[in-house]
């Protein structure tokens, strides 16, 4: 479990790339100072029999704090991922803004996903939201690309890349290179 405390007016960015090494990752983030903010970007690329449990907990303990948690996951073969997110907004954390999102792309019959993005809100002067999507590659998109002369495999790769592009671009260079290498499989 990694504990992270964000201080007054501090802006923290956490980038996580998972390619099958760990079976469990836990982050406990506390926005302790007024005006602090956290951006958490999690990219999960699972294949084979790899499994991951990812826990991300964010506590807004001070006013004017911002959190943005985005998790994207691409699963092939029999990979399995379990995402538990919790955003807690303490009483008094006025002017808080929280966003929690988990997007899962399943690329195989046997891949499995579980996502539980929870919110606990004890202050009313806030904005909070969360979103989950789970789905596969849209057949129409593949069909369109193939009609333009791409092979099925290239078309699918292109769509997966499009799904992750925005996040990979925000990663430090070493991580984005690793991610791209993994995705080429």
């Amino acid at each position: 479990m990694k504990s992270i405390v964000v201080k007054k007016n501090e802006e923290k960015v956490i980038t996580v790339l998972w390619i099958g090494k760990e079976t469990e990752l836990s982050y406990d983030i506390k926005l302790a100072g007024i005006g602090s903010s956290i951006k958490f970007l999690g990219l999960i690329i699972g294949k084979g029999m790899q499994t991951l449990t990812l826990n991300v907990k964010v506590t807004h303990a001070a006013p004017q704090t911002t959190s943005k948690i985005i998790i994207k996951s691409v699963l092939t073969e029999s990979a399995k991922v379990d995402i538990e997110g919790l955003v807690k907004i303490d009483p008094g954390a006025k002017g808080t803004n929280a966003w929690l999102a988990a997007h899962l792309l399943l690329l195989s019959e046997r891949a499995k996903g579980r996502a539980v993005p929870s919110l606990e809100i004890l202050e009313n002067d806030i904005k909070a939201g969360h979103a989950t999507t789970v789905g596969r590659i849209n057949d129409m998109e593949v069909f369109y690309l193939m009609s333009r002369g791409l092979s099925r495999k290239t078309a699918k790769n292109l769509i997966v890349e499009g799904f992750l592009r925005e996040m990979i671009e925000q990663f430090p260079k070493n991580l984005s290179q690793t991610a791209e290498r993994e995705l080429r499989l």
Binding site: E123, N124, T132, G135
Partner: protein, 465 residues
């Protein structure tokens, strides 16, 4: 009676009648109590065995460790069976005066004449009044209380009873199975469309009372029914318990809509298990409004068991002072091309807490399934709390699942605009809240929609400004 009503002006159903029970089991729960209920009802041996097995399950199982705080329930300080009357009636004129007066105050006999195809009225443990208009009876529709169904339609009853929610499902379902009494039994024959609603009304009158109604609805192929239930209770200083079990079977191509407006007084623990099994091309809908009770834990479920089955849950929760509404819905996709929608709207005010708790599960093989969940929460002040606990499990590649949630307060600009047009802050807030819940309210029968808007305005009086 030691219990004194607590003054709360906005709850107009808080009155109680002197308890004039015809038969009552002693306080607490044990084998003798269960045997006494079964014996008093003159039940067949298999039902007694069913109850005793359920009692064992109840004793073995733990209360859920998640969800609302249930530590305040004292299972030993509760009456599990109180029969208010020797008989059941089909004419309001025959119903004992005290009981009839209660339903007159709530407005049931009037509504029956105007808008309903049939009415059942349960008072404490027993259904005292049950009537179905002749037109529907002639078409083969069965609408009786569940105890009568056990005697009158034993085969149909035994074929479906306990099949959607087994005794072992959870501690409260086991408790209901052990001491159940009353509730509605509905059978709609193939192709019959009951186009005006059937309604049941549940009233707890006695203090320290546990009400355990058991409802079973079977909609045969291609049929349609809309069932509406309402619930109220007097205000006592001690707690009461309502632990119902509702099982619904929606056969091929049939459609069932089940509407609940729960407005228990704020001393009732409302812990209900509700589930629909939907077969091929069937459509099951829950419209679940939770306004009253001290604690509610209720997650109406649709099990989509046949190809192309559809399920919908509309959940509305309103948590005021001292209330915790832990509500939501579940959709389990077991077959291909099944679709589900869950929409939840919650409002927390005056220190109330509302929690959305839901689950969508899509098993491997349920190809082409779609599910969409939307929860919106409105927090009206600094004392209140709102939670969202959505579980999404997908074990199939070919699916589309979406979940969205938002939590917010009332927009300053909205308030300012309305107040600049001459509305008071309270009136403006009421208008915004009513607008917020409108997508659910518009699905209710008209008289309920009007009542709901009125209740919400009352509950909010004095809460802002």
């Amino acid at each position: 009676m030691k219990s004194q009503p607590v003054v709360k002006t906005s709850y107009k159903y808080g009155f109680h009648k002197p308890e004039a029970s015809f038969f009552k089991t002693p306080m607490g729960l044990n084998r003798q109590v269960v045997e006494a209920i079964s014996h008093f009802k003159n039940e067949p041996e298999w039902m007694l065995q069913f109850r005793l097995q359920a009692l064992m399950m109840f004793e073995q199982k733990m209360l859920p460790t998640w969800g609302a705080d249930l530590s305040g329930i004292d299972f030993d300080a509760m009456y599990y069976y109180i029969s208010p009357s020797e008989k059941k009636f089909t004419d309001w004129g025959d119903v004992p005066a005290d009981i009839k007066d209660t339903y007159d105050k709530i407005g049931i006999p009037q509504a029956e004449q105007k808008y309903l195809a049939g009415v059942g009225a349960q008072y404490d443990s027993e259904v005292v009044y049950h009537n179905l208009k002749k037109k529907w009876e002639d078409l083969g529709v069965i609408f009786v209380d569940t105890d009568t169904a056990l005697t009158k339609y034993p085969d149909l009853f035994r074929q479906y009873f306990g099949t959607v929610i087994p005794v072992s499902d959870n501690k409260l379902a086991a408790l209901n199975s052990a001491v159940w009494s009353g509730g509605s039994f509905i059978y709609i024959p193939k192709g019959v469309h009951v186009d005006i609603p059937l309604q049941a009304y549940f009233r707890i009158n006695a203090a320290n009372m546990g009400q355990f109604e058991r409802t079973l609805i079977i909609a045969d192929e291609g049929s349609y029914v809309h069932y509406v239930e309402g619930c109220t209770a007097p205000i006592y200083t001690t707690d009461s318990l309502h632990a119902a079990v509702v099982e619904i079977i929606v056969k091929k191509g049939a459609r069932v809509r089940y509407t609940t407006i729960q407005n228990w007084s704020n001393n009732v623990y409302n812990l209900v298990t509700k589930r629909m099994l939907v077969e091929e091309e069937g459509f099951g809908e829950w419209i679940d409004g939770n306004l009253g009770a001290k604690v509610t834990m209720k997650y109406p479920s649709v099990i989509l068991n046949g190809k192309g089955a559809k399920g919908e849950v509309l959940s509305l929760a309103f948590a005021g002072k001292g209330q915790h509404q832990d509500a939501g819905g579940k959709a389990i996709h077991l077959a291909p091309y099944t679709t589900s929608t869950i929409t939840s709207k919650s409002v927390s005010v005056g220190g109330g807490r509302s929690s959305y708790r839901g689950m969508v599960k899509i098993i491997n093989g349920a190809k082409g399934s779609k599910s969409f969940v939307r929860c919106d929460a409105l927090l009206l002040d600094e004392l209140s709390r709102s939670d969202t606990y959505p579980t999404n499990i997908v074990n199939e590649e070919d699916v589309t699942l979406g979940h969205e949630a938002s939590v917010s307060k009332i927009g300053e600009e909205q308030l300012f605009y309305l107040m600049s047009r001459g509305l008071s802050e309270a009136a403006a807030t009421g208008l915004i809240v009513n607008g917020f819940i409108e997508p659910i309210v518009k699905e209710l029968p008209l008289e309920y929609a009007v009542e709901l808007n009125r209740l919400i305005n009352l509950s909010m009086e004095g809460s802002v400004g």
